[in-house]
Symmetry: C2
Subunit: 351 residues, 2 copies
DNA sequence: GCTAGCACTCTTTATTGCCGAGTGCTAAGG
DNA sequence: CCTTAGCACTCGGCAATAAAGAGTGCTAGC
């Protein structure tokens, strides 16, 4: 028995690592199973294909590569990719061209809605994959000002401005029309009451007050709160995400399955699962990578997700990243996502 | 020579029309070239396949059908579909189920933004194709109220409410920070000046005044106008469109070409060409149909577009419709689009 | 531990032959 | 003049077969 066997099969030699790295890099480039001959040349070690075959057999035993069929080359498995990104990978920092493009894009941008949408576009443009940006949940968003305007019919337009400068509006159907003066009074009351308070607090308070103390409040207060409730609720927001460049995914041969693609796109539109997935990334700081099935979402089985958190003023508020085929150019993509997150954070920093 | 030849080949007999109709209906159902035997049964006229073949040959001469290859059945050409929808088609009014679903959807809806988006979803849901709704250009939208709020940095948040109850906001970078009082004063000035006026008028006036009469205005007025300009401009809007259910198109075999589909989806995202196309539909009232190449956009070559205009209070303001494969169920789709447009018009009617 | 050689496996591609569907034409019948 | 039956012909689709190419695993020798 060899030393490997004594060590329990779970050690991977320096050389094997080198081979694995070369294999994955090659596979990322060509997308074709890598044979022993090809790999023998790639490593630069001047070994014969037969030797390479031995090593490949070891790698297969360890579960890092597999062959699609008897006489094809080897293809990285999820475990292989995992090991690669964790221990082997040498990142390739963004080219000057990429950097320039990114800086330029971030200089153009104005308000935060456009900013986030454009960031997802930027990501998709740079990587030729799908870019996603999760919009923060407005966690530290405060009530700033509310405005109530009468519309035709028994409808009221409620506009809420938050401390972050976001504007939310909502049309509320009421049981009777209101006069402008009534609404103005109600708005004044709400503004006095809530200005500067955290939105979550405001909502909690509204809910409680509306439930419990109907009798103790006068008509005006009650009315005002009923009107404010919907718009505050919508402003607090559940978090949303922008996805750009979905269609880029159609260009990858390995995903060229109309049925699956449709499901994937539909999932992007629903956004729910994606949101949930991104939510999991927000806890860990920095770059996170989900490879293939690791995400736990069947639809993403042949896809990988590379994400990074971004921040406003020290606090992590959101996640951005790219979705692409498992066979993506990790050495390039990872720093791109990383830098984008930093640039976005910088752009969001209050001046 | 037969009578047909004397008449110059361009007459199509009653019977031939009947056959063409049956052929197209069949082809819409099955998506497969229709052979003489099949068609002989379908017409109900109890004729032999051979007879049918003669008629089909005539139809082919006239350019209404063609055969993909020697021994396939016949398939309608664009001209064939055209003749069909213009002269042959018997529409199939929406089922009670469809109607109920439509009514139900329109009852749910609130503000106009959601309304239009949901309408496109509704269309796509009913037809299993892509639904589009072109958003009106806010032609008859009036200035109602403006609000100016200071943000951190030299930034001002401008909020504009229109007579239709739409809320537009925009962050404006200024060369120096403003005090709340200043902004309030400016807003008051603008509100006095413009409330109730048509947005187009307002914008025109702003542009003119900003250009010409810098000296004659006092500081406050000038400042106010500078602040108002961007948000008014964005509120006037260039017209936009919502597209829903793109992915449905992936399910049609005849469009199952990844490359073309990608281009099509990208075009949907750009929206520009689509907008232009829809613009052409707005001039003609009622239902319009573009079959295949008729649209003039190469990307839509195997697609058809069925549109109808909708109105607010007598005035045509927008277009909606569906995009699907040329082989779509026109007898069902046409009335669906028509009814949807009517329902939308009804929903938009000011109470 | 490395290498060469060899038999083996499996995919890919091309070739072939055949079946079925459908046509066009012709000639005969109402 | 319209309709029909019959017949030869064309073409796509399918399955079976063959050949080529790539790559492997194993063994024996260096």
């Amino acid at each position: 028995m060899s030393a490997k066997h004594i060590n329990g099969e779970n050690r991977i030699s320096e050389r094997a690592q080198h081979f694995l790295k070369a294999l994955i890099e090659r596979y990322i480039r060509d997308g074709q199973p890598v044979g022993s001959r090809t790999l023998a040349k790639d490593t630069g070690l001047d070994l014969s294909p037969a030797t390479v075959r031995n090593v490949m057999a070891d790698l297969e035993d360890l579960g890092f590569v597999s062959s699609p069929h008897t006489s094809a080359g080897r293809v990285p498995t999820v475990a292989g990719y995992r090991f690669f990104v964790d221990s082997l990978l040498t990142v390739r920092p963004p080219t000057d061209e990429d950097l320039a493009r990114m800086r330029w894009r971030f200089e153009q941008l104005t308000d935060s809605a456009t900013l986030l949408e454009n960031t997802s576009r930027l990501l998709s443009g740079l990587t030729h994959m799908a870019g996603v940006v999760m919009v923060p949940r407005h966690e530290r968003n405060a009530f700033r000002q509310i405005e109530l305007l009468p519309l035709s019919g028994a409808r009221v337009l409620a506009i809420l401005v938050t401390s972050e400068g976001e504007v939310h509006n909502r049309i509320i159907f009421t049981e009777r029309p209101f006069r402008p003066a009534e609404l103005e009074e109600a708005a004044n009351y709400l503004n006095q009451m809530f200005t500067g308070q955290d939105l979550r607090e405001v909502r909690k308070r509204l809910v409680e007050d509306l439930r419990q103390t109907h009798e103790r409040m006068d008509r005006l207060m009650l009315r005002a709160m009923q009107l404010a409730h919907p718009v505050v609720e919508s402003a607090e927001g559940r978090g949303d995400c922008h996805i750009a460049g979905q269609t880029n995914l159609m260009e990858f041969g390995e995903l060229a399955n109309l049925e699956r693609l449709k499901q994937l796109f539909d999932a992007f539109h629903q956004k729910r699962e994606i949101l949930h997935l991104l939510d999991r990334c927000i806890v860990a700081d920095g770059v996170q990578i989900f490879i293939g099935e690791e995400s736990g979402y069947g639809l993403l089985n042949d896809c990988s997700l590379v994400t990074a958190t971004y921040r406003i003023d020290q606090y992590v508020v959101g996640v951005l990243g790219v979705i692409g085929p498992t066979r993506m150019d990790y050495p390039r993509v990872i720093p791109l996502v990383d830098v984008t997150a930093r640039l976005l954070s910088a752009a969001l920093r209050p001046q």
